[in-house]
Point group: C2
Chain length 209, copies 2
């Protein structure tokens, strides 16, 4: 089983969907560790509920880039747990080259839009204000940019009739909870390769340049 660490800053609903999926006998990975940058993160209680070890690395800022010391602490914790893959699940911090270099193409994130539309904060609010009729969510590998990495899976969500950004966000979140475990499973279970910035699952007939 592939060993996984999950990073979360918030209530942890995507972490819960991953933990639930990973508890299945046939899941190809196991969550070894939950790390948070906030000691009030709801994700910590979920970790306890699932019997997953957890730790908090606070570095004094609520958002943005982590301090080098915090990033080193997170990396040390992942290595100690033997983590091979990192899943970001509502982790509100930007990982630097030091961390990403230790896990090349092995850090995954979920984002509540159909990237490349609406990267960054409050994607659902951006999408609502823009007036899109279709939005969705994206699981992608993390690179040095903000929500710019290669796309693993996406799923569309209808935005028509949504009366607020919150209503749109709720529709998307329900799909996120299905998509993230499905995408993680495929990454761990199926053959795939990167071609430029395309991720191609080679068990498909998906070939070409």
């Amino acid at each position: 089983l592939t060993r996984i660490a999950v990073f979360a800053s918030g209530r942890g609903s995507n972490f819960r969907s991953l933990a639930r999926a990973a508890a299945a006998d046939d899941f190809p990975g196991r969550i070894e560790l939950l790390l948070s940058d906030r000691k009030d993160a709801g994700a910590l209680a979920i970790a306890a509920e699932f019997g997953i070890p957890s730790a908090v690395v606070e570095d004094g800022k609520p958002r943005g880039r982590l301090s080098p010391a915090s990033e080193a602490s997170l990396l040390a914790a992942c290595r100690e747990a033997g983590a091979e893959w990192i899943c970001l699940a509502g982790f509100m911090r930007i990982l630097g080259a030091g961390f990403l270099g230790a896990y090349p193409d092995r850090v995954v994130n979920i984002h509540p839009s159909l990237l490349p539309s609406f990267p960054g904060l409050d994607a659902q609010g951006q999408a609502f204000a823009h007036g899109v009729k279709v939005s969705g969510c994206t699981v992608h590998l993390v690179d040095a940019g903000v929500d710019t990495g290669p796309i693993v899976m996406q799923r569309a969500v209808g935005a028509e009739g949504a009366r607020s950004a919150d209503e749109l966000a709720a529709r998307i979140l329900a799909v996120e909870h299905e998509l993230y475990p499905a995408a993680l499973r495929r990454l761990l279970e199926e053959p795939w390769e990167r071609r430029g910035r395309r991720i191609v699952f080679t068990r498909n007939t998906e070939v070409g340049p």
Copy 2:
């Protein structure tokens, strides 16, 4: 019946889908005129097939912004035909403020991506190279930008397993042929309003800011 002019530069497959839809007894509009900037456009033969009057306004350049004289000719032709709405269907030219000011929020376009992702030329090639797993098409009102206007309808198209940009384009085109007549029908038939850059069909429960 609302009078419509369609502008096309190419083979005219989206024009054909509009002409076919508009031929139905219950369609709320009628295509009075097909205008092209190219005398070799396949759309001209389709106009003849459907008994729709057509005209060509060539201005010496194959792409980009129209000359003021060409734009004035197109506008005069639309006015003479009594056109109330303009549908761009593979029209490879940029309309200026002179034309758009004469038809405020009454010029519609279809674009082969889920805008705001991949505006401009070769949207399908851009999407394929970016590695998206979901793309689609967008019907939008035309403003002064390139594919930046308010979104009327969108539909998602799966990109997974597409082996080339052409294969993705073919999948999207099949959906364009359904979406464009459906969106035009809604614009003509249903109550709607603009709220900022959002288009809200008010027969829905869609309310809010």
